[in-house]
């Protein structure tokens, strides 16, 4: 929908740490007003990718397009919050770093603080905030400049559902205001809300597209099984989800006689990511 020059993001980016290839030819567009999710396990390369997209790490090859440091909001994995400053002091410090005047900054964050339950904690040391409140403060600080590009590294990991809803409200506010939003997550239901999803594994893109495109490209069939499948390879291709066993039958795999096969179910994003990991295990 938007191919304008105002797109940010990565094109064919690779990053090396010493001899380790942390990112291998990865592309991801950041489109104004849209939310894109980066998913993958621990060590998949999500943080490296977001650092490149935020302009905090130059790629070894490929291109990273950012709107510049003053137009980029970035939530780093540590949150960029000083534990020995209060909520207000953290925000003032960040505002000064972005070159914002104090009244302007105050006006910008007032509603955000109010709406996410942080207004009553303005004088509290950040060290005394709960994990969820600290993440919210980090995101509000990253949104201070009214950035054209907002890059959030796991804003919701370990956060309870109430704070997570607040964080999603902030993310939606930023996108509705025209920012291009990139965020990483290990929660696939959150990624399902994004307009575009990039699945990373060991630095390589496993899948990329809208959630519907990714699930449509899942090879083979998923079946619900009434009991845990036994015997190899079925046992390795089965996993538990929401109280049920699911079995992946790759294309062309002969149906097993030892497995009671239940109904086939259409894959969602979480199934797609699990199957990509199973396929890699098998390879």
């Amino acid at each position: 929908m938007n191919d304008s020059v105002n797109d940010w993001g990565l094109a064919g980016v690779s990053v090396r740490y010493g001899r380790t290839l942390a990112l291998d030819d990865v592309s991801l567009r950041a489109v104004p007003g849209r939310i894109a999710a980066v998913v993958g396990g621990d060590g998949a390369g999500k943080t490296t990718l977001l650092r490149c997209a935020a302009g905090a790490l130059p790629p070894a090859s490929g291109r990273a397009a950012t709107p510049g440091i003053r137009q980029t909001g970035y939530l780093s994995p540590s949150g960029g919050i000083y534990p020995d400053l209060t909520v207000d002091e953290n925000l003032s410090f960040r505002a000064a770093a972005y070159g914002l005047r104090a009244p302007q900054a105050r006006e910008r964050v007032a509603e955000h603080l109010d709406r996410t339950g942080l207004a009553a904690a303005r004088g509290r040391l950040a060290a005394h905030l709960s994990g969820g409140m600290r993440k919210k403060l980090g995101v509000i600080a990253a949104m201070l400049p009214g950035p054209a590009l907002l890059v959030l590294d796991e804003p919701t990991t370990g956060v309870d559902p109430v704070s997570r809803a607040d964080l999603w409200w902030l993310i939606a506010q930023a996108a509705a205001g025209g920012a291009a939003v990139l965020f990483s997550t290990t929660y696939l239901d959150e990624a399902q809300r994004a307009g575009h999803v990039l699945v990373l594994d060991a630095g390589r893109p496993l899948a990329s597209g809208t959630p519907a495109e990714i699930t449509a490209a899942v090879p083979g069939t998923i079946r619900l099984c009434p009991a845990r499948p036994t015997g190899d390879p079925q046992r390795r291709r089965a996993w538990r989800r929401a109280g049920q066993w699911r079995l992946w039958e790759p294309p062309g795999a002969p149906p097993s006689e030892t497995v009671q096969r239940g109904e086939a179910v259409p894959p969602d994003l979480q199934d797609a990511v699990v199957i990509a990991a199973l396929a890699r295990e098998a390879a």
Binding site: G33, D42, D160, P161, A172, W239, V273
Partner: protein, 303 residues
Amino acid sequence: MTPLAQCVSVTRAFGPAVAVDHVDLAVSPGEVVGLLGANGAGKTTLIRMLLGLLRASAGQVRLFGQPPSRQTRRRIGYVPQGLGLYDDLTVAENLAFAREVFGGDGADRYGLPAALRPFAQVAVGALPLGVARRAAFTQALAHHPDLLILDEPTSGVDPLARARLWETIQDAAEAGAGVIVTTHYMEEAEECTRLVVMAAGRVVAEGTAAGIVGERRTVVVDAGDWAAAVGLIEAAGLRAILSGTSLRVPGAAPATVRRILVGAALPARVHEEPVTLEERFFQLAQAGADPSSPDRTGAGAAP
């Protein structure tokens, strides 16, 4: 049959703050009980009382029919949020240490699961998170505990690793252990035989995931211009949650939402879908903090 763990009207106060308020809970062999609640709802305080790390201010905590003690701790496997492993010891050293603490004979009776074998000689601090969590599970299960207590056991782990950890939990339950597990991940809550939802120190809902969700429905808005729709719904004092390019407005009446959008001449389709467990949890958590709400259950006001 005596429950493995039982709380009867358990209360714990820290000065004037009541962290756990008249909580009843029972866990039987083979049960997986999910303890849900926002940060500060009282889950961790309750767990610390079950472990014997904290005394109840009032009420009764019983483990295997006795008050919590070192003897009862021996029959519990515990995975704390921080994993409880020594970062500068290897996986094998951590397991050997735990074996000695729990009075094992020093022999490696249980061995390492295949997934951990390549990491036996790696310091825990250098492990990927998913592997470290697997090691913490192995350590907690090594003495064949009767009761497993898991505090956010899968946080930050990818979906396949999460599914594999849940297989371990279910295997332990099928072998007769009782499990108490906290999670912020609602799909995991559906793995539990029973859920206990806490808010502001109290139990505000209890039952299966399906029972807690019930027949409730949520308003869903499909508007071409979702950003404008968010603005209108929010301006009316309702909370809209973005889901793809749809908006979900839990707790609102469809007619109200329709009126808001029609009033602004914004083209949109408004319909209803079953409420998700996360949305229901959200309502319970909000209501639990509001003493006047009908969703707030439990007898007696806080002193």
